[in-house]
């Protein structure tokens, strides 16, 4: 199996990475770049724990090959807070008690971030629909939905 050398911008940093063809974006982030905030819950596109933002849109990083990301820009949970300052969504998740074990949380935050980028004032239904691919076994979801609403009410959220 051959390796491919790719250029990929991750959280604003240009990275040059050697990846085997069968390496998913998820594995590249975790194993090549030690960005372990992105989680692996199924490797099958079902759980959403691996959700990252690829060229502005959320994807299941277990369903994307790393080689496909040559020239792309990726944002992970590690890129959400800036200089130790939490993003409004992160603060909202804390305020609403929307995190328990935390394993789904990075993926949830990526999906929610992308939602607020495309829809600054989502309805309850729109939030639930946007998060349907992020399984959470702990919280029962309602606090996550409330957290997204809280963040959406803050003007700086979308600008961030």
């Amino acid at each position: 199996m051959s390796n491919h050398k790719i250029n990929v911008t991750v959280n604003g940093e240009v990275e040059v990475v050697e990846v085997p063809a069968n390496m998913t974006l998820l594995r590249m982030l975790r194993e090549k770049l030690a960005l372990t905030g992105t989680k692996n819950g199924c490797s099958a596109g079902e759980c959403g724990a691996c959700t990252v933002i690829l060229n502005g849109e959320p994807v299941n990083s277990c369903m994307v090959l790393a080689v496909e990301c040559d020239g792309a820009s990726v944002m992970t949970i590690e890129g959400l807070s800036k200089d130790g300052q939490l993003h409004a969504l992160q603060q909202a998740v804390i305020d609403q008690g929307a995190v328990q074990c935390g394993f789904c949380t990075p993926g949830v935050l990526m999906s929610a971030y992308a939602l607020l980028q495309r829809n600054a004032k989502p309805t309850d239904e729109e939030i639930r629909e946007a998060l349907v691919g992020n399984l959470c076994r702990c919280t029962g979801y309602n606090r996550i939905v409330e957290a997204v609403k809280q963040a959406a009410d803050q003007p700086e959220t979308v600008a961030a």
Binding site: G37, L80, L86, Q90, F103, L109, R128, R137, N142
Partner: protein
């Protein structure tokens, strides 16, 4: 006694305050470290497991020669390498199968290689010859004389003294209740209900699959990193299975991405350790795929339950006769105690004078069962609470009234003969009934909808050995902050936060000034039996409070000596030691490490402050094996009630829960908002098992081993309106009166929903999951729709 003291003492800040979680910031930034996130370095090897394709077979031969020859393979092990048995209450498992496989997925051989791909290829190259045997696929049949015997050596297994296997059969535990005169009571009953319920296997489905990384060094010292609810139990069981000293096994347990019981005891961790013994010095990582998780991680046992219950004409429960056949699967080392718990709680939270119960744990060739949130209670209550509804209808009493009439109250003699401690169950019932507007019927939202309400109540005790212990330390730091050491684990339930609150409260420092040492590491952390049974807030909480008080005592004595005062006149408030007498004050900063100088440079007093504390219940007694009677079966019961309002679409059978309310008596909510979060999450997990979840087993083979067909509730399935109500009737030996509530919220959800469906459509759907199909076809079969 702790209770008197607890009553006298006023509840300090921040007990009862909804402070934010101590681990929240790490978790929302992706900084929180889980076992798979640790960088194990370039020496890391990857393990994969050769597993049985058969539910029941004898191993004739295993040929590993090709696998061993594959470049990149570092070790191949089989059962012959590890002859020791392992198991929590009944040692019925080998680490790798030796003579026989008992379920599809049973580990037969293990490989360590330099990559996961090579390890997989090696597994493919291992050739195993089997002689296929007749599988046992039904626990009721399995308990009988005609079933093939799955564990011929059952009589030789090491077993806890409160578990009663029946060698020569597939029954690995038989728990009996004989209370009063059931036979004589039936004739006094004005109404009797008899029902059979079958509850399928479900799985915990933590979003983080099981993972273990093991390393064994040249001297035989074992280090195990894992996603673990039970670092100390793992240390203990792995050490004894491998013939090692407990002190030569170190278990390091970082954050757990959801456990729900599946990561309790020891399961796949022993595979990683066993393989690691053959590649000295190199860490070996075994991470279950989601599919392997479904096939081979613990599942909740299936249940076939027979209920018979009767009441007099006024609705007073007179008798119950219950028989439970638990589908324990291939190994029941842990679940024997689940079936015991269900036995000693078999009356449900009711005051019943005459009870006969038989709870059989039965081996089958199904997946291995183990503890899951609720520990037998959700399964048992699913049928029991629907029968109670039937009986209420039969005698013509409203189901809420019926429950208020019969529910267990403070001072009742419960099913095991134990006297019930103070409990707020009736208050829970009243509160949920009010919140759901019981008795009022709103019109359905559309012509094709039918609306209904249902209620169910529950009880559950921590199920554990009588002497499960906790310990803790509280260590002071230079800046006056404190670090709490515990061996219990943060699974998401919030235990680190609650421990920090208790330490802060007992010590007299702000919550923000407390840290909890982690990862839990058996070499450094104090002993904790396991993070299970909703016992940490109560048991570990007591240990932490004791440790904090010990630290506080050391500090006050030091300062008192320095100020030449009586420690009783001193207090620690907000991190400052003050004297009520002399009105002196000194911040904890520095003095808790360096001590205090004596006057005129005459030396020092005090020194680094480390408080220690422990807790172990000492009053739980054994039960008579024939009758299940004894003075104190358990430490306590947490009780509660849930009610739902829902709509059934009579064109599809789809059920939508419009709102749910839940009330639990937690004794004292240390962090009310986290209690509510726990209740909401448990309710939705319960709802998920009510509507979607079941392991579909065909001839012993799992038909839905992935999220494609094992569906769980999503954000769109969760009812928007879930209300959690806290009831607080103090627990006499709980820290600040607290008792646990981690598991309880999912216990009554299935029957509450089942009862509401019945209310809506007039049909009992019976066994969960209440899929749209099952509900629809039940309506067709009942002639309600065409």
């Amino acid at each position: 006694m702790a209770n008197k003291e607890a009553q006298r003492e006023k509840i300090p800040n921040p007990i009862g305050v909804s402070v934010p979680r101590i681990d929240a910031r790490e978790k929302v930034t992706g900084a929180a470290i889980y076992a798979d996130d640790i960088q194990y370095g370039p020496g890391l090897l990857y393990a994969r497991i050769k597993r049985s394709p058969h539910p029941h077979a004898l191993i004739k031969s295993i040929d590993c020669s090709k696998a061993k020859a594959l470049p990149g393979v570092k070790a191949v092990v089989t059962g012959d390498d590890f002859p020791g048995y392992i198991g929590l209450y009944l040692q019925d498992r080998y680490i790798f199968c030796r003579d026989r496989v008992r379920y599809v997925g049973d580990p037969v051989a293990g490989v360590a290689a330099i990559s996961e791909e090579i390890a997989e290829q090696a597994v493919e190259l291992i050739n195993v010859e089997y002689e296929v045997l007749e599988p046992v696929l039904n626990p009721e049949f399995g308990a009988g004389p005609d079933a093939a015997i799955i564990h011929p050596k059952l009589g030789e297994y090491v077993v806890a003294n409160f578990i009663f296997p029946e060698p020569g059969s597939n029954i690995s535990n038989h728990f009996r209740i004989r209370k009063g005169d059931v036979e004589g009571a039936w004739k006094d009953c004005a109404a009797i209900v008899e029902k059979r319920y079958q509850i399928p296997h479900v799985q915990h489905v933590p979003i983080e699959p099981h993972i273990a990384v093991a390393k064994v060094d040249e001297n035989g010292k074992v280090t195990l990193w894992g996603s673990s609810q039970s670092p100390f139990a793992q240390r203990n069981l792995i050490a004894s299975a491998l013939g090692k000293s407990q002190s030569d096994v170190e278990v390091i347990a970082p954050f757990v991405g959801g456990g729900f019981g599946s990561k309790a005891g020891v399961s796949m961790e022993s595979l990683a350790v066993a393989i690691a013994t053959r590649v000295k010095g190199r860490p070996v990582k075994l991470r279950l795929t989601r599919e392997e998780e479904f096939y081979t991680a613990f599942v909740r046992q299936g249940l076939i339950a027979y209920f018979k219950m009767g009441c007099d004409k006024d609705g007073r429960l007179l008798a119950m006769e219950n028989r439970f056949y638990w589908d324990g699967g291939a190994y029941t080392e842990y679940s024997v105690n689940i079936t015991r718990a269900a036995g000693y709680s078999s009356s449900g939270p009711y005051d019943v004078p005459n009870v006969k119960a038989d709870s059989y744990c039965v081996y089958t060739n199904h997946p291995v069962t183990g503890p899951m949130r609720g520990f037998g209670m959700p399964e048992m209550h699913s049928g029991l609470e629907q029968c109670i509804d039937d009986l209420a209808h039969e005698i013509g009493i409203d189901p809420v009234q019926f429950r208020l009439l019969n529910c267990v109250r403070t001072g009742d003699t419960i099913v095991t003969g134990m006297k019930m401690h103070p409990t707020g169950l009736s208050e829970c019932i009243e509160k949920v009934a009010k919140a759901i507007q019981w008795g009022e019927k709103a019109p359905p939202s559309a012509p094709n909808k039918r609306r209904g309400k249902g209620i169910a109540i529950m009880w559950k005790a921590p199920a554990m050995p009588p002497n499960a212990g906790s310990s803790a330390w509280v260590e002071m730091n230079e800046d006056g902050t404190a670090t709490v050491g515990v061996g219990g684990q943060e699974l998401g339930q919030g235990t680190f936060t609650v421990m920090a609150q208790m330490a802060a409260g007992a010590l007299g420092i702000p919550y923000e000034d407390v840290r909890v040492a982690r990862p839990v590491d058996t070499d450094y952390s104090p002993y904790e039996w396991q993070t299970v049974a909703s016992r940490l807030t109560w048991s570990m909480g007591n240990a932490v409070v004791n440790a904090a008080k010990d630290a506080r005592r050391q500090i006050l004595e030091m300062v008192a000596q320095s100020w030449d005062e009586n420690p009783d006149d001193l207090d620690i408030v907000n991190g400052v030691v003050i004297s009520y007498k002399s009105e002196e004050a000194v911040p904890l900063k520095n003095l808790v490490i360096y001590g205090l100088p004596k006057p005129n440079d005459q030396g020092w007093i005090g020194g680094p402050v480390v408080g220690r504390g422990k807790f172990m219940p000492t009053y739980v007694t054994g039960l008579d094996p024939q009758t299940g009677q004894g003075p104190r079966a358990v430490v306590h019961y947490t009780t509660g009630a849930e009610a739902v309002e829902l709509e059934v679409d009579i064109e599809t059978g789809k059920v939508e829960v419009i709102r749910g309310v839940a009330a639990f008596d937690v004794g004292k909510a240390i962090n009310p908002d986290m209690v509510k979060a726990q209740v909401e999450g448990g309710f939705v997990q319960g709802l998920s098992t009510a509507f979607f979840e079941s392991l579909i087993l065909k001839d012993g083979v799992l038909q839905n081993p992935s999220f494609v067909d094992y569906r769980i509730a999503t954000s769109a399935d969760a009812p928007k309106d879930i209300q959690a109500i806290i009831v607080e009737v103090a627990q006499d030996d709980g820290p600040y009166g607290a008792r646990g509530v981690g598991e309880h919220p999912l216990v009554p959800t299935i029957p509450a929903i089942g009862n509401a469906i019945y209310d809506a459509i007039g049909v009992r759907v019976g066994a969960p999951p209440f899929s749209a199909e099952k509900v629809y076809l039940a309506m067709v079969d009942a002639g309600i729709i065409a």
